[in-house]
Structure formats: structure tokens, C-alpha cells
């Protein structure tokens, strides 16, 4: 099992190739010891004769050692154990990769969006239609995240836009390291748009910052109005909802206003665009929102 994301070993693929390098810092403690190696070798063995544990070996603990604690002595009732305070966020490793991505994107004036939704909400179709509607007016690149297959990247490439597929194997979300690696493989133009289509999953991607400017949640009207309440973390983490497949509303009992009200219960500031990739409804508003973001990202680069 991959020791960072918990996915199957070596199953994360970018563009069909395994991740180039281990995600862990060089020289980290090897905690999966090889057979026959000392289980807990002493980092600084004492000179011979200066304590019971002065040698490197696999412990069998046939003696009780009271001299090797931090105080070098034992007081009745006091444990030799001591506390190491670290006070670090659990996601701090991912967040530091995300900050690197964000810095790179800012320096190059690139506007990056992290598109999140359940499977089947129409993300890829919406992306294809958006890319066609932009019609080359904006340089853009797409990173596709799925557990398996590069079908989605192929659909994007068919529009003429460069796309790279990340396969997460057993993983349920993209993380900032994967996206950073993908960004290095892609040639990102200055002042361009980067669209990252996350793995279809309304749970896990909420916690993993990729370095994007905004998370955009796609909710289709063939789902339930209460999705924002069922999956509040994702709707709280997002800045925009694309309420997709709105052309189907006349045929459904879906109450769009109730869905939006539910989303705003979780995130009072969330913006909503009603959209349909099929009929084109709301597409202008969505594309204008993207263009404004791109202008701001580009002007941010000039200021910096």
C-alpha cells in the first residue's frame, strides 16, 4: 500500500506512467524494517559499559533499564517516557505541496479550478462543452483524475486542448503532490486556465487542497436536493456550484431552489450558476466567471 495516500502500491499513474519518485522526504526514518534487521536500533549507542543498553541489537528486554531515560535516573512513580510536542496539522504535508503549486500558479498568472462532484454529474461533458465554447480564446490545460482509464483525458484531447490523465489506482482523491507532478509534465502557458477534474467523489477531495484558486462543485438535477446537507464538507469547501443538467428540470421533481437553499445552509457565501451542457443555459455566465478569474490571476502576476 502506498504510504502516503493509502492507495495500492505503485498504482498511481500520471499519463499512464508511475509517479516518478517517492513522495517522502529523502532520508526519512525507515519504519518498514527488513527481515533480520534490528527492530529498534539505537541511534546513538553509548560507549561500552555505560549503561545496560549500550549496544545495538534487537531488543529482547530481559532486563529493566532505569538509567536510560531523559533524566538518566529513576524517581519512584515517574515514568521514563516523555512527551514530544509537535502540534502539526495532519494534512500539513499535502498543504505544503499545495502551497508550492499555488505559488507556481500565481507566479505564472494561471487560474486553476478544482472541479469536484459525484460520479455522473456531467463534469467531463461540461468541460468539453466549455472548452468548445471558449474556442481557443483562452489558453487552457486539463488534468483529469480517475481511478482507472484515460477515457476522460481522451475526450478532452479530442477538443484540441492538452490534457493529462492521473489514475489514482485505489485512491479516492487527487492530492497536491500528484497535481504538482502533473503540472511539471504539462507545459502550462503563462496567463492560462488550468482545469483539474477531480475523482468523482463528494467526500474525500474536500479535504485535499491542490493549490487551486477555487473548488467548483458540480451538482446535477438528477441527484437529490439534499446532497449539500448529506455531503456538507464538499459544499463548504467550494466557492461555486454549477447546478448542471438544468434542461431536464421540466421532467423531474427536483426543486432547484431547495437545493440552493440547502447549499447556502452549509455555505452562506456560495455562488450558484444554473447551467446545462446540453442546452447551453448558463454557459455564458460560467465562462464569464472563468474569464474574470483569469484576468485577475494574470493581473496578479503583473503586480507581483
Amino acid at each position: 500500500m502506498c504510504t502516503t495516500c493509502g492507495c495500492g502500491s505503485g498504482q498511481t499513474l500520471i499519463g499512464g506512467h508511475a509517479l516518478k519518485q517517492c513522495r517522502h522526504a529523502a532520508g526519512k526514518v525507515q519504519y518498514r524494517v527488513k527481515d533480520g534487521q534490528a527492530r529498534f536500533p539505537h541511534p546513538n549507542p553509548l560507549p561500552e559499559g555505560e549503561g545496560v543498553h549500550s549496544h545495538e541489537h534487537a531488543h529482547t528486554h530481559d532486563s529493566i533499564d532505569f538509567c536510560n531515560g531523559p533524566a538518566g535516573a529513576h524517581a519512584p512513580g515517574m515514568s521514563q517516557a516523555r512527551m514530544v510536542k509537535i502540534e502539526r496539522d495532519i494534512l500539513s504535508k499535502n498543504d505544503s505541496y499545495a502551497q508550492e503549486n499555488r505559488r507556481y500558479l500565481a507566479e505564472h498568472g494561471i487560474f486553476a479550478l478544482n472541479l469536484v462532484s459525484s460520479p455522473g454529474s456531467g463534469k467531463t461533458t461540461l468541460l468539453v462543452k466549455s472548452i468548445n465554447a471558449l474556442n481557443g480564446s483562452l489558453p487552457l490545460t486539463v488534468i483529469e483524475g480517475d481511478q482507472q482509464t484515460d477515457n476522460d483525458a481522451a475526450r478532452i484531447r479530442a477538443t484540441g486542448a492538452p490534457a493529462l490523465q492521473i489514475n489514482t489506482g485505489k485512491g479516492c482523491h487527487l492530492d497536491a503532490y500528484m497535481v504538482g507532478q502533473a503540472m511539471q509534465q504539462l507545459t502550462l502557458q503563462d496567463n492560462s486556465l488550468l482545469l483539474i477534474e477531480n475523482v468523482g467523489n463528494l467526500v474525500c477531495p474536500a479535504s485535499f487542497d491542490l493549490g487551486e484558486a477555487h473548488k467548483v462543485a458540480i451538482l446535477s438535477v438528477t441527484e437529490g436536493e439534499d446532497k449539500p446537507l448529506k455531503y456538507p464538507d464538499m459544499f463548504r469547501a467550494s466557492d461555486l456550484i454549477l447546478l448542471n443538467k438544468c434542461d431536464l428540470l421540466p421532467y423531474l421533481t427536483f426543486d432547484a431552489n431547495l437545493a440552493i437553499e440547502n447549499a447556502r445552509r452549509v455555505n452562506p457565501n456560495i455562488k450558484v450558476i444554473r447551467i446545462s451542457a446540453t442546452s447551453g443555459e448558463g454557459m455564458d455566465e460560467w465562462l464569464e466567471w472563468i474569464k474574470e478569474g483569469c484576468r485577475n490571476a494574470a493581473s496578479g502576476m503583473r503586480v507581483a
Binding site: 502516503t4 493509502g6 519504519y31 517516557a81 512527551m83 502539526r88 504535508k93 482523491h173
Partner: protein
Amino acid sequence: MHEMSLAEGIVQLIEDAARADGCTKVKAVWLEIGQLAAVEIDSLRFCFDAVTRDGIAEGARLEIIETPGQGWCMKCEGNVPVTALYEPCPVCGSYQIQVTGGSEMRVKEFEVE
């Protein structure tokens, strides 16, 4: 199942700190998990046991300090408890609440031998 990723993140933080400290056995780990954090604690415990196997934190006790959810109600202009992200203000019923606490996921400290 991103709890597996979180558990791996915890183990990495502990290992880095343990290496810097020169210790070789971690006996217990204290986490601070907010009531509003996107984490299932039972699942995290299960994953922690799995990923610490054969490592310096194998068999370590996992102590979880749950911190309460807190928010700032814009209508009441005051701090209010928040039990879930979709719940209204318990005082005025408004949903205009900014969460101010209870979404943290931190490794606070660990005990070494």
C-alpha cells in the same frame, strides 16, 4: 476512505519528529480532531493501527481529543456552538454562521520511551 491518507500523514509527522528527537519507540499519540472535521474517528483508528504496523509507532495508543464546533453568527454577532455544518444558529435560527473552531485535525504530541 481518506482516513487512510490521514493516518499515513500522522505516521509521517511522527516519524519525522521522532527522527529529529532520536527516539525509537512511540507509545502513544495525541490527536486533536474537531467535531466538524471531515474525519470518521473509528475509521481513523482502524487505519492508524494498519499503517503503524512494523514501524516505530506499532501498537501505540491513539488518544483523540475532540474539540467542539464553534461559529460566529452574523445575526447574533456572537459565538455560538455548531454541532453540524448544516445546522442553524441555536439562538436565532440563521444559517449565516462562519465556523471558527472545530474543523482542526492536528497531531498534538506523542509519548516516547
